[in-house]
């Protein structure tokens, strides 16, 4: 029995270090290769030893697919390919290929230079790893080998994020990566055609959320920032360098421009400039508005947003600062936060999800006193606001995507177990499909019934098509032909051709049947009576009376003879070939009923 096997190495009932193994039609594919934000030990990377204990990974994996450039989807890539060892192809989209190394390098710097970790991948390893990457375009079907093909779909979420369809023969799996079903200020919405995969692996970060209208959120956000700035307060918005940051920048930039505001907006870290450059380049990946107006003005060329310097944080007067990282767990955003936390005029806006254990999570949960390193206690007086700008699909969006793709099975990853449970129930109820949510290391096996393609000759198809009258979807159609199986190759041909190909002579198969008829008249007269009876009953068929006294209906022959013993009984000999079985049996049953008396 063919089957599809899925094993999450990461992101199974969890958010972080996405890494899912899929075996489909004898091919092994690894989807994403991420790191986990919450851990600093070995647990931060997926356990690749699951794939093989000894021996090179290349022998076990046909390809690796990276959905987008977030570190929880690509962070372990250099480790995996260079340190564990993998030489096969790595597929990702063009923007991902461009931005991914910047983020990896940044990640490496923090880990090695700041935290002083040893045994971490080096810059050279990142470069080597990127050399193995094959970039794909949207909707381009890439043949990995003769049987395995992959295809990317637009996923929204971040620049270059894609969903991938993995197909072997007639079996297919769609992996969504992270996606967003509502468009935002810089990206469009995810879209997939009705590809009806056997399995849809979808993220479920917001499994229990149905978000308000995006516009309410934007309005709230702008209002809060505007008010704080007018009050003279400073606004801190912790973001990750890429993704949300750009959306919020565009939002604030256009607002500033429309309202003619003067308060400065800063964006921290040099990484952004490089990334912004890519955003300007990959215009085709952005939303309708930016695509349409970039000729006049590229929306990513900000007028009001300037680079941040550490000294600016102490400047008097209102300002808005975007600082990394987004969960306030380290770096510049945390530094600024410590400086500003004491003033109630100031405000921090958390625009996205915060992993448990980070400062962001703590203040969002309402903690007002934070214990910092060195036993310091930081009192948080500033306003803390949360606004979900995460570009993940909400429950309704997930349902929408499932509806669009019409999969046979759904598998949830990248979410919390409890919430998944809820969504799983909804999906099963709504679409009547099986839904799975394996934990890390747990394997889901799906039996599949792959369809076997059979070739049919055009002549046969046309001939059979022409016989039926009207198309009727409700009734199956009967097709006469011969199935030839030759070297794992199936063909349906007409019987004549089959005979010819196989060099066989045709055998005639004839059925004959005697029908006793009580009729004292002569044979000829009986035949005539039969003829006129059949003629009146079978209007659509060609009924003929031959000179030798026999009657033919199409190719069926009917002969009348006197019974040897009883002259009052006539024997009708009905003979038909195998092909005319239907008509022949009908005729005999008709004749068995006897002839009408009135006829002469």
């Amino acid at each position: 029995m063919p089957e599809i096997r899925v094993t999450p190495l990461g992101a199974g009932q969890d958010v972080g270090r996405s890494c899912i193994l899929v075996s489909i039609g004898g091919k092994n594919v690894m989807l994403d290769c991420g790191m986990h934000m919450g851990f600093n030990d070995d647990r931060r990377f997926p356990d690749f030893s699951y794939i093989t204990r000894n021996g090179r990974l290349t022998d076990f994996l046909d390809c690796v697919i990276i959905s987008h450039f977030h570190l929880d989807h690509c962070g372990a890539l250099p480790y995996f390919s260079e340190m564990v060892g993998y030489d096969g192809p790595i597929y990702m989209t063009h923007p991902t290929q461009a931005i991914c190394p910047i983020l990896l390098e940044d990640y490496r710097k923090i880990a090695v230079d700041k935290k002083g970790e040893a045994n971490f991948f080096t810059s050279q390893m990142i470069k080597d790893c990127m050399k193995k990457v094959v970039a794909v375009h949207l909707h381009q079907t890439v043949q990995v080998d003769d049987e395995l093909e992959i295809k990317a779909y637009y996923a929204g979420h971040v620049l270059g994020a894609a969903m991938f369809q993995i197909k072997v023969g007639s079996e297919s799996v769609v992996y969504t990566g992270d996606y967003n079903m509502t468009p935002d200020r810089h990206l469009g919405a995810a879209w997939i055609d009705k590809c009806r995969p056997n399995l849809l692996i979808t993220e479920s970060t917001y499994a229990t959320t149905i978000r308000d209208s995006k516009r309410c959120r934007e309005r709230d956000f702008l209002k809060k920032v505007h008010e704080a700035v007018e009050r003279g307060g400073k606004v801190l918005i912790p973001v990750f360098a890429l993704g949300r940051a750009q959306e919020l920048c565009i939002l604030l930039e256009t607002f500033w421009e429309r309202m003619n505001l003067k308060a400065p907006i800063y964006f921290s870290t040099g990484l952004t400039e490089k990334a912004n450059h890519y955003y300007k380049l990959f215009i085709t990946w952005t939303n309708q508005k930016i695509r349409k107006t970039f000729v006049q003005r590229n929306m990513f060329e900000f007028k009001h947003i300037k680079a941040f310097d550490r000294a600016f944080a102490d400047n008097p007067g209102p300002m808005v600062v975007f600082a990394t990282p987004g969960m306030l767990h380290a770096g510049q955003s945390l530094q600024i936060f410590r400086k500003w936390a004491g003033n109630e005029k100031n405000m921090v806006i958390m625009p996205g999800y915060c992993v448990q254990g980070t400062v962001g999570h703590k203040i969002l949960s309402g903690q007002r006193k934070l214990e910092m390193e060195g036993r310091q206690v930081l009192e948080v007086k500033m306003q803390v606001e949360y606004m979900s700008f995460s570009a993940h699909a909400d429950a309704k969006g997930i349902m929408q995507l499932v509806g669009q793709a019409e999969p046979e099975n759904v598998l949830l990853v990248h979410g919390e177990a409890k919430k998944m449970e809820f969504l799983k129930q909804k999906i099963e109820q709504e679409f009547r499909v099986n839904c799975y949510m394996p934990a890390n290391g747990e394997t889901v096996t799906l039996p599949t019934s792959p369809s076997i393609p059979v070739g049919i000759s055009l002549g046969l198809l046309k001939r059979e098509m022409a016989q039926g009258l009207l198309p009727d979807a409700k009734k199956p159609r009967l097709l006469h032909g011969t199935l030839i199986m030759k070297d794992s190759n199936f063909r349906l041909v007409s019987s004549e051709q089959a005979l010819k190909e196989l060099g066989l002579a045709e055998h005639q198969l004839r059925f004959t049947c005697r029908v006793h008829l009580h009729d004292p008249r002569k044979e000829q007269e009986t035949a005539l009576r039969v003829y006129s009876h059949l003629k009146s009953v079978l209007k659509d068929h060609c009924v003929q009376h031959l000179p030798d006294g026999s009657v033919t209906v199409e190719s069926i022959l009917i002969q009348a003879a006197a019974h040897s013993e009883d002259p009052g009984t006539k024997v009708l000999l009905v003979s038909w070939t195998y092909q005319d079985e239907e008509l022949g049996s009908y005729l005999t049953s008709l004749l068995k009923k006897g002839l009408p008396q009135g006829a002469t």
């Binding site: 709230d220 003619n260 409890k418 009207l470």
Partner: protein
């Protein structure tokens, strides 16, 4: 005319039909179709042949084309039932063809020609009864998506032709909503909409439950679901159609705005309230608060389902769609639904206000317009007003002006709201001083709508103090004028307000009442005499004395015929003067008064011209006097063109009279020239032309001729046979006597008539700094003008630039430069390019607006042009003449010589 010729052509074609190359046959078939579309060709003769060819044809493409030809034939003969039936039979026969193209055409033919009446085929065998709908319906499940689409389209075509579709189609169409192909889904949405409009009240069962709902509600839910379809074409279609489903129940309607309310269709009666509780308790988090998405206790799985289907949040989705086309469609639909349901209007307000922040300007503009349209149903809360007013800072002029329009008809609930609006508008004024007029107008309406809310604000706004005199504000400050406009308009219906004014306010009132009378109403102020307000206080418009006066003045003119020329002239002059004055005083009657006055002026000119001495003196002496008469003729012509094209609301009966007057002017011209020129040759042509004109007149207004008893043309037509044969000199003589004898035709007054007018706002013509540019290059001049009562301005309004050297240039503005802010009003914002050779001094050019006309556009087209290939645009865009209809504005320019 050339039917026999065409028949001949057709015979030639049939010879070639035996052609072997299918592409040649294809072309012939298509030519046959074109041929049968031309006028004067009776296509029934080729039908039999076409059908015969059809039977032997093998190529699918040719078959399809032949069916197309048959369709053309069938549509040409709509009355002939037998032919229609025959064609339908042919189509049915070919429905089983293997090619999608042929099936498509067959379905199209069925849709266009098939009738619902069950037609019995004559020959006794086979199925006798044909139900076109059933046949088309069978192809809803064809294997080819193009055929499926064609089947739905055919069904829609049947509906358009007025056949009532069966309700059974509804279920079939619903299945097609989940088709794989977008064009099928798009057409299916339309079909569902059609059926829902046909059978709104019938009850349909809900699958998998034993409950039933109204069909229109069910359809609404289904179309709402399509708003989140994968294809944006379908989304646009669905969003558009939602707007016209007014019969839908209100609770379904309101669900469209609530994403969270997952009330299921299946058990709405039982689960509705429960579902509501569920969501107020928050099964799903909203994403606004942190940590509210922790799952609550297990819920009964049966209670909540169907996140996907149903009307829930359709508009929420539509309004935040990726494609702005969908968003605009959603806003429009929202507008239409809100207009029919006040409670829905109230609910959708928040969403509309949110759309004011859309990233695409068009969408913002559309939502502001929508808000204006529904504004009589709603009252803005303060926080909503706040968001609305924030848009005033938008840098786009269109948006700001649309918003001013919106504020004109908005209801505000509190005095803080009024204050807020005023403050924001003043802010807007300082930021964009060009918005001055629009803001004043906006405040005028704001004041007159909310007098009681303005009252408590007056002391603050005028910064008066109970004890101290405050400084007198600057009278020329636009902001101060804005405040005064608000207050004075509020004071109109609030008599207690003037008591709060200080002395200088009264003085300013008097000044503004004179200088900005359209913004400042007449107030009843203590100690001031107000003529107009006391007079017109309690008169119903019906017995409006000014209207009576107008009628009387016009009736007086009836007696014109019985007066001697001198008396007639005096009477006309008097009446014209009266009418003009009336028009100035009563703006609502200005159109009628002007129109009538113009007509009377024409008559006056005609009488005057006929009184000239020149008719009596001998030929050699009249050379000089003829100037006056020919000038009169020319002027009458001009005036008649103005009457015909500058007024909106002119009906056919007026047009006849106007044309009649013009004909008289032409006659005058003819006889004047006849007298002043020597020799017969030029006269010959003129006479012929004139007679053509008369003939033309007769053809165009044949229906109205009975109303023209005793008129010039009536008499002229009587003598027409004689005129045709007469010599030019005689013709002139006859015409002359006719003209003298002709009676004055009474001009019936149209119901609603408005004179087209235009005001150029920009350039203002005040600048002393010349626009400098290098000669030979161009300079762009921004022109901004408001047009009132102009019909079809895109084609008629032109900009003219007159250079000092007499050179005139006419510029055709782009259609996109015209905006339509309200009924009868247009706004032209365009750029005019100026260029000239170098000048030594700066000098002024004149810019004005022209109304282009073409009197032929009214007339029926001559029959031989009809079927031809002449595109209608070419014809109408020919400009016969122009009428200036705005004051000209002077612009100071200075083309400098180019530097070498």
């Amino acid at each position: 005319m050339a039917a026999h010729l065409k028949k001949r052509v057709y015979e030639e074609f049939t010879k070639v039909v035996q052609e072997n190359d299918p592409s040649v046959r294809l072309k012939i078939a298509s030519l046959l179709g074109l041929l049968s579309k031309t006028a004067g060709f009776s296509p029934d003769c080729i039908m039999d042949d076409a059908i015969n060819i059809l039977q032997n044809e093998k190529s699918h493409q040719v078959l399809a084309q032949l069916l197309d030809t048959l369709l053309a034939i069938g549509t040409k003969l709509p009355e002939n039932q037998a032919i229609q039936n025959r064609l339908v039979d042919v189509a049915c026969k070919h429905l089983t063809d293997t090619s999608h193209g042929v099936r498509n055409k067959c379905l199209q033919l069925l849709g266009n020609l098939g009738s619902l009446e069950k037609s019995v085929t004559k020959d006794g065998e086979g199925l006798a009864v044909r139900d076109v709908q059933k046949i088309i319906g069978d192809y809803f499940s064809d294997q080819d998506p193009r055929v499926r689409t064609a089947a739905i389209k055919a069904m829609l075509q049947l509906h358009e032709r007025g056949l009532k579709l069966h309700q059974t189609i509804y279920n079939q169409a619903c299945k097609l909503l989940s088709d794989d192909y977008e064009q099928v889904r798009s057409a299916a949405v339309q079909l569902i909409w059609v059926v829902s409009q046909l059978y709104p009240e019938s009850i349909v069962p809900i699958p998998s439950s034993n409950e039933e709902i109204r069909l229109v509600d069910d359809a609404f839910g289904k179309i709402c679901h399509m708003v989140s379809d994968g294809s944006w074409v379908v989304r646009v279609q669905a969003a558009k159609l939602l707007g016209s489903m007014e019969q839908v129940s209100s609770h379904f309607l309101e669900q469209t705005l609530d994403k969270k309310l997952m009330s299921d269709l299946r058990r709405k009666r039982t689960a509705h309230e429960r579902a509501k509780e569920l969501y107020s308790s928050g099964e799903f988090s909203s994403g606004r608060k942190w940590g509210d998405d922790a799952p609550k206790e297990e819920i009964d799985t049966g209670a909540v389902n169907l996140i996907e289907s149903g009307a829930c949040g359709a508009f929420v989705h539509g309004l935040e769609d990726e494609m702005y086309e969908v968003r605009i469609a959603a806003v429009e639909a929202l507008c239409m639904l809100a207009q029919s349901s006040p409670s829905f209007a109230e609910k959708c307000l928040d969403f509309l206000v949110d759309m004011f922040n859309d990233e695409i300007e068009e969408v913002r503009l559309q939502s502001i317009h929508t808000m204006r349209k529904i504004s009589n149903n709603i009252t803005l809360r303060e926080d909503q007003l706040d968001t609305v007013l924030a848009v005033l800072e938008d840098s786009s002029r269109d948006i700001r002006e649309a918003l001013h329009e919106l504020l004109c008809c908005t209801n505000v609930s509190t005095k803080e709201g009024i204050h807020l609006a005023l403050v924001e508008l003043l802010k807007n004024l300082t930021k964009y001083p060009t918005d001055r007029d629009s803001i004043w107008k906006c405040l005028k309406f704001l004041g007159s709508r909310h007098p009681t809310l303005v009252l408590p604000l007056v002391p603050e706004l005028l910064s008066t103090h109970p004890f101290f005199d405050t400084a007198e504000p600057d009278m020329d400050d636009p902001a101060y004028i804005a405040v005064l406009v608000l207050i004075f308009n509020a004071a109109k219906t609030c008599p207690t307000m003037p008591a709060l004014f200080s002395d200088h306010t009264f003085r300013h009132y008097a000044y503004l009442r004179d200088s900005l009378s359209h913004l400042v109403p007449a107030l009843r102020l203590p100690g001031r005499k107000l003529v107009s307000s006391t007079l017109s206080a309690n008169i119903t418009p019906h017995e409006d004395p000014s209207h009576q006066f107008l009628q009387q003045s016009l009736e007086r003119v009836y007696s014109l015929q019985h007066l001697d020329p001198q008396g007639a002239q005096e009477l006309l002059e008097l009446t014209i003067r009266d009418l003009q004055r009336l028009g100035e005083l009563q703006s609502e009657l200005a159109g009628v008064a002007d129109f009538s006055a113009t007509y009377l002026r024409c008559q006056l000119l005609l009488i005057k011209a006929l009184q000239e001495k020149l008719w009596n003196v001998a030929a050699p002496l009249y050379l000089k006097q003829s100037d006056l008469a020919s000038a009169a003729a020319k002027q009458i012509m001009e005036e008649t063109y103005k009457m015909e094209f500058m007024y909106s609301g002119v009906e056919n009966k007026q047009v006849v009279i106007i044309h009649h007057m013009r004909l008289q002017a032409k006659a005058l011209q003819l006889i004047v020239t006849a007298r002043t020129t020597r020799g017969v040759d030029p006269l010959f042509g003129m006479c012929e032309k004139f007679l053509q004109e008369v003939d033309f007149f007769q053809r165009c207004f044949i229906a109205d001729l009975p109303h023209l008893q005793d008129s010039f043309v009536d008499k002229l037509l009587d003598l027409m046979p004689r005129l045709m044969t007469s010599k030019p000199v005689e013709v002139v003589k006859i015409v002359q006597t006719m003209l003298r004898q002709s009676t004055f035709l009474h001009l019936p007054l149209p119901e609603q008539i408005h004179k087209a007018s235009a005001t150029i706002i920009e350039p203002a013509g005040e600048s002393d700094n010349p626009l400098r540019f290098t000669s030979g290059l161009v300079v762009a001049l921004d022109v901004d003008a408001t047009l009132e009562h102009v019909q079809d301005p895109q084609n008629t309004v032109k900009v003219q630039v007159l250079y000092p050297d007499g050179q005139a240039q006419m510029i055709h503005p782009k259609p996109a430069d015209f905006r339509n802010p309200g009924p009868g009003r247009h706004r032209l914002i365009t750029q005019v390019y100026l260029s000239h050779t170098a000048w030594t001094e700066p000098c002024q050019v004149e810019v004005r607006l022209l109304l282009a006309y073409n009197s032929n556009s009214r007339l029926p087209k001559s029959p031989w042009v009809e079927g031809g290939e002449v595109s209608p645009q070419v014809e109408t865009s020919v400009i016969e003449g122009t009428i200036p209809f705005s004051k000209s504005v002077k612009v100071y320019i200075m083309p400098k010589p180019a530097r070498r």
